[in-house]
Structure formats: structure tokens, C-alpha cells
Amino acid sequence: MTEVTLYHWEPNANSGKPMLALMEKGVPFASHYIDMLQFDQHKPEYLAVNPQGTIPAMTHGSRVLTESTAIMEYVNAAFPGPELMPADAQDRWRVRWWMKFMDQWLGPSFSMIGWSVFVGPRVRERDPEELAAAIERIPLPERRRAWKKAISGDFSAEEMAESRRRVALGVAKLEEELGKRDYVGSDQYSLADINIFNSTYSLPLSQPDLASKEKTPNIMRWLKRVYEREAVGKTWAMGKTDMAARYSLVMEGII
């Protein structure tokens, strides 16, 4: 079999998606941990793999793949193992719709909140000159602007309020969806579950006002079911920061 290498950060958000998809398919892969908080993704050795400097990226033989959701679709199509897309065309449409909703509408809001409370403060502890140099190395202008904002904590009250509005609305809609179907978009565990789980697994801990046994029973039932998957446990074991500790805390709260 041609070798697969995955360049990823923590089993969380975008990096977590292809990690979990590969685990679910049973595809062996070499793991390259890219420490986002040390800006590994903008260093020459990584830019040689993905010149855009975004994570995750995956190589399969001579092929280089980027963009987490598209990588997952590739992994599902290119390798044998359990099917991670439903067979019905309308279910497939719904799975894609939810992934776009997460990637383009809800995810950036989760990310803005996450960066303002977690990434920004951690990175700000470092030498300002070193940070300025690190920002200058970012290849994509949009990402450069985004990092500048995150590092300087430069989100306006209006932007943060809009992100909080989107997260609250998105969580409410997810609760409704999981009341209609066993999984996101269909009655089968799919790429949409992997996608959305990676951004919502810690909600009961981080936003108990939005997600809890009382407020969102469908989400909690779904989270528990996904948490218990063998592939999730194996993927989380690859984490290197204290984020991993949060998983067991959430699990304790769910059971």
C-alpha cells in the first residue's frame, strides 16, 4: 500500500477531521505533529509540503491533499473500510450541506471564540519581536490578517457578539437535526458527524449554558455515541496538550 502521511495539530477542529476519518477507515498513517502554537505550519520544512501553510495536509504517495473536509472525502473514496457517506443521494446532499454550514458559517465563529480565549492568550506570552517575525512568514494574506487579530486580541465587541449569536443558533439547529435523525444529516455515522463532532465535543464543558443534558438531550445522546467509538479513543490518544484532559471531563459529564 502507498504510504499516507498526515500533518496535523491536536485531534480537534480541522486537524481532528482527517485524523478521525483515517482511524475510522483503518488506514495506517505516519503522523507529523505540527505545533500550531509554535507556528510550525509556517516553517520552511512544512511549507515545502503545503506552500499555503495551512493545516492539516496529507500526502498519499506523490499526491498532496489539503483542506480538511475535502481530505476526508478523499480518504473515504480512496481507501477500503467502512463507508463514511450514506448511499441515498438526498442523505449525501444533507451530509455535504451540514459540513459546509460548519466549515463556512458556524466553524469560523467557534474559531473566533476559541482563538480569543485560548490561542491568542497563549501566543501573546511570547516575545513580541519573535511573534512579528512569525506573522510575516505566513503565506496567505487572509491567514496573516487572522493571526494578527488573534494575537493582538483585536476582535470587536460586535464581531464577538455575532460569533456568539451564530454558535447559539447553530447549536440549537444541531439539536433539532439530531431530533430528526440518529446522526447528522442521515441515520448513519458519516463524515458530517466526524466534521461536526470535532468542533462540538467539548461544548458541554465550555458552553454548558448552550449544551447540557437538560437543554440539548439529542446532542448529548449523539456526543455519547460518538465518544464511545473506538476510533475516537485512538485519535484522542494522539493529542499532546492538556486539551486531551478535557475529553475525559466531558465524558464524565455525559454518562
Binding site: Q90, R92, W97
Partner: protein
């Protein structure tokens, strides 16, 4: 109630889906609606409205199947292709398919919002601004999505700043540049064989030739490719559904410009 495709004039997202439907040849009834009258937010027979209420594409077409509203033109084109058992609009090879998805995502995330903004400013803003206040309030009141409603309001109020326009023009130029690079090896269509990538790119770029010709001045390969796509029978059929003389000048509020990152 059987399936219905509600669509605007054949341009932008509506053109992609109408052409995909013509390509696969399934007999799904098409119902033209007046997007600028807010008709997309008052459709009958919808039990599951989520994809309209929180859709990202703006005023795109809506396919209603079994009471469920389905939106997002690329996914509707994929759906139609798959419903027909795969009629060649998507590559079979996993890597070629990944390349097509990546291309389509570049187009829908970067070109579509930019083209929609420029197209609306050139062709629809006057009509939206002329809607009397009480009618506008009723129209925007029927829109569930707060951010789509805000885009309607911004066009009505003329609250679009010069930086947004310049950013949109740059994104149209970049999209043309990407097409030119892709076609440089002499390929006939963007992914080699005709695919959803051609439909979605043509649908947002063809109208830009009319209002921003300078983007195409040094892009002979792209201009020739646009002509090849325009000559495809499915695109000819879709454009023939137009109710106006110049459908490529027909615009309604589109996708949001990326707000973060």
C-alpha cells in the same frame, strides 16, 4: 407534492443547477420565481426549511423534495448527478474528485460573493433601493437568516464601502487568473473533462465579462473556455429558460464575504 426546482433567472447559482438538470435529463419540474421580490422566502409546501433559513449561498435556487428545501448549487449539482446514477459531471477517480471539490470551494467561497456583490451593485441595487419602505420591511421580515437580511439591507441603503468593492474586483481578477493557469496546458475544460467545476465557474464568471471586461483583457484561454461552456447544450438549454433579454445581468443578494480568516 412532487419535486420542484424553484429558480431565478439563469445566472449565478440558479444557472449551475438548471444546467446540471439539463445535462442529466431528469424530468424535475422547474418553477421560475422572482428572487428580487423575495419569492424564495415564501415557497409553499416546505416542512424542512433549514437549508433556506440558514443557507450560505444567498438567493440561490431551492430544490424541494419530499417537503425538504435543498440549497447550495454545487451540492445540488452533485445530488442531481448522483440521482441519475452518475452521468459524468463528477470525476470517478478520488484524487480528481478532490481536485474538483477544491476548485468548486475556491469559486463558491471567493468568486461567488465577489461576483454577487459587483453584479448586484451594477444591476440590482437600483431596483432594491426603489422598494418602498413598508414593502422592504415585509420582504426582509420574511428572511429568516439575519446575515442574508443584512446583505439585502446594505444594498438597499447603499452601505457598501469602496474597500469591499476593490476586494471583490481583485477576487474576480484572481479567479480569471486561476482559470488562465489551469487552461494553460491546452485542456478543453477546467478539470480536463467537462464537470461541475465548469458549470459553477461559468455561472459566476460569465456575467463578470459584461461588467468587468478588464479582468478578461489578457485572458484569451479563459475567454475561449467561456465560449466553449456557453455552447454546451445543457448551458444553452438553461439560458433559454430566461425571462429577460440578458439573464447574465440578473443578480440577487448572494453569499457572505468571509468574515474571519
Amino acid at each position: 407534492m412532487g419535486p420542484v426546482l424553484y429558480h431565478g433567472e439563469p445566472n449565478g447559482a440558479s444557472l449551475t443547477v438548471l444546467a446540471a438538470l439539463a445535462e442529466i435529463g431528469l424530468a424535475i419540474p422547474c418553477q421560475p420565481i422572482d428572487l428580487l421580490a423575495g419569492a424564495r422566502h415564501a415557497l409553499p409546501g416546505i416542512a424542512e426549511p433549514l437549508a433556506i433559513d440558514l443557507g450560505i449561498e444567498g438567493e440561490g435556487p431551492v430544490l424541494v423534495i419530499g417537503g425538504e428545501a435543498m440549497t447550495e448549487s454545487v451540492f445540488l449539482a452533485q445530488y442531481l448527478d448522483e440521482l441519475a446514477g452518475g452521468c459524468g459531471l463528477q470525476p470517478d477517480d478520488a484524487y480528481a474528485h478532490w481536485e474538483m471539490l477544491m476548485w468548486c470551494r475556491q469559486i463558491t467561497e471567493r468568486l461567488s460573493p465577489a461576483a454577487a456583490l459587483l453584479g448586484n451593485l451594477a444591476n440590482s441595487q437600483a431596483a432594491i433601493a426603489a422598494i418602498p419602505a413598508d414593502e422592504l420591511a415585509a420582504l426582509t421580515g420574511s428572511i429568516v437568516s439575519d446575515d442574508l437580511r443584512a446583505r439585502w439591507q446594505a444594498l438597499h441603503d447603499g452601505a457598501v464601502d469602496a474597500a469591499q468593492v476593490a476586494d471583490s474586483e481583485a477576487k474576480v481578477d484572481q479567479a480569471v487568473g486561476r482559470c488562465e493557469d489551469k487552461l494553460a496546458d491546452g485542456r478543453e475544460f477546467l478539470m480536463g473533462a467537462f464537470s461541475i467545476a465548469d458549470l459553477v465557474t461559468y455561472s459566476w464568471l460569465a456575467g463578470m465579462e459584461l461588467i468587468r471586461p478588464e479582468s478578461f483583457a489578457a485572458a484569451p484561454l479563459t475567454t475561449a473556455w467561456l465560449a466553449r461552456v456557453a455552447a454546451r447544450p445543457c448551458v444553452v438549454s438553461a439560458l433559454a429558460l430566461a425571462k429577460t433579454a440578458e439573464p447574465l445581468r440578473s443578480w440577487a443578494p448572494g453569499p457572505e464575504i468571509n468574515r474571519w480568516g
